[in-house]
Amino acid sequence: MIDNKNSRRSFLGKAAAAVGVIAAAGYVKTLISGAASPTAGVAEKYTNDATQQEKALMENRLVIMTDAEKTQRLDELLNCHYKELS
């Protein structure tokens, strides 16, 4: 073709570049499989999510009904239950 030495050098250059790309791809693959590994990280992520959620929900004041309020509610329900729409 053109220059024997030149074409061999360019071929070697291309081969080196290809090998570099394959090596980089392998490295990225290990990064991804490390990041997406099931066992360790997942439990951590779930507990992290759960604690965040718990924090958000705990900001609501939970108001428990007193016994009087419970009886009142039950009375209203039963009253309604036995009444029928005409």
């Binding site: 997942v42 959620q53 718990e54 929900l57 609501n60 939970l62 108001v63 428990i64 009904m65 309020e69 329900l77 309604c80 239950h81 029928e84 729409l85």
Partner: protein
Amino acid sequence: MSEENNVKMEESADLDKGRRDFLKYVCTSSAAALVVASESSAAAVEAADDSDAEMTVTEFFQGHFVLMSDEEKKQAIARLEKRYTAKYGKKTTVSDVAAPEGVLFGYALDISKCIGCRRCVHACVEENNQSREGSVIQWIQVMKIPKGNLSFSADKLENGYPEKSQFGDYGVQVGGNAYSPAGLTTEGAQSYYQDETVPDKDFFYMPVQCQQCEKPPCVKACPVRATFRDHAGVVLIDYNWCIGCRMCQLACPYQARRFNWGEPSLPAEEMNPKTHYFGNRPRMRGVMEKCTFCVQRTREGRNPACLEACPVGARKFGNLLDPESDVRKVLATKRVFRFKEEYGTYPKFFYYIG
């Protein structure tokens, strides 16, 4: 030219021969599978081993269950029973009992009685073999909605925009005291509460599951008709036909459908072995599932698991065509409404204030 024609004819003859061989292979292998399946279903538990727990090629190529002949249905059921028995180590039955004639199933839920205990959620999960660890799938979602009497106060009367000083005494255009959600609205609904005791005085609870619409948008959207409405009114899914495109989940206005994003994890000791083909049989990765009104129970005249678990009796189920059923009585005498009825889906899940 004539040479080309001869070549073409030879090629097509080869193809025909290839096709005949393939068909012969498929027929003999499925006939053999038939024989093997009928023999082995009786001795399923003893002969179970790991290879039986995998899906067979014949199961992979089975068609839509509703379109199968009776013989094909029997074979499909036998295959599934064998596979589930091998996988979970329990004698599993997969029923394909049909919906009863002259029945239209309906549900009614009293939101004044619901205390948000979520026993229905867990009973449903125990009955219907959902994925437990990893992906936790729950078909019923209970919304904890603030009652709406929390945010009124006199010093908020002038809050809003534009501010009062800009327009003198003409008052605010947007804002003021009642500018927050109140009553039955999904705005501000919390579905993932973890209260230790229920009910919370300032909230009321509204469980949502598949509303079994009469005009289901999910059925219309499914490209392969894997989800369909049976003649008892229940919207069902053929799990072996679903391709996992999730068009139905896009279409559902009630967020009722659940997808198996990963391989469902169901411990064998928690598995319910009495299953139905369209109901609670264990699903596989990549298919949709949802509440079926416990089709394995209701087609045999029993009540759904959520109804039996409710401690306050807020749930009612029955045949809408029978005027003496609980649901009909509720519809006749109580203040009933449908959830999101503006979508025109005509659900058979009615909410009422008892």
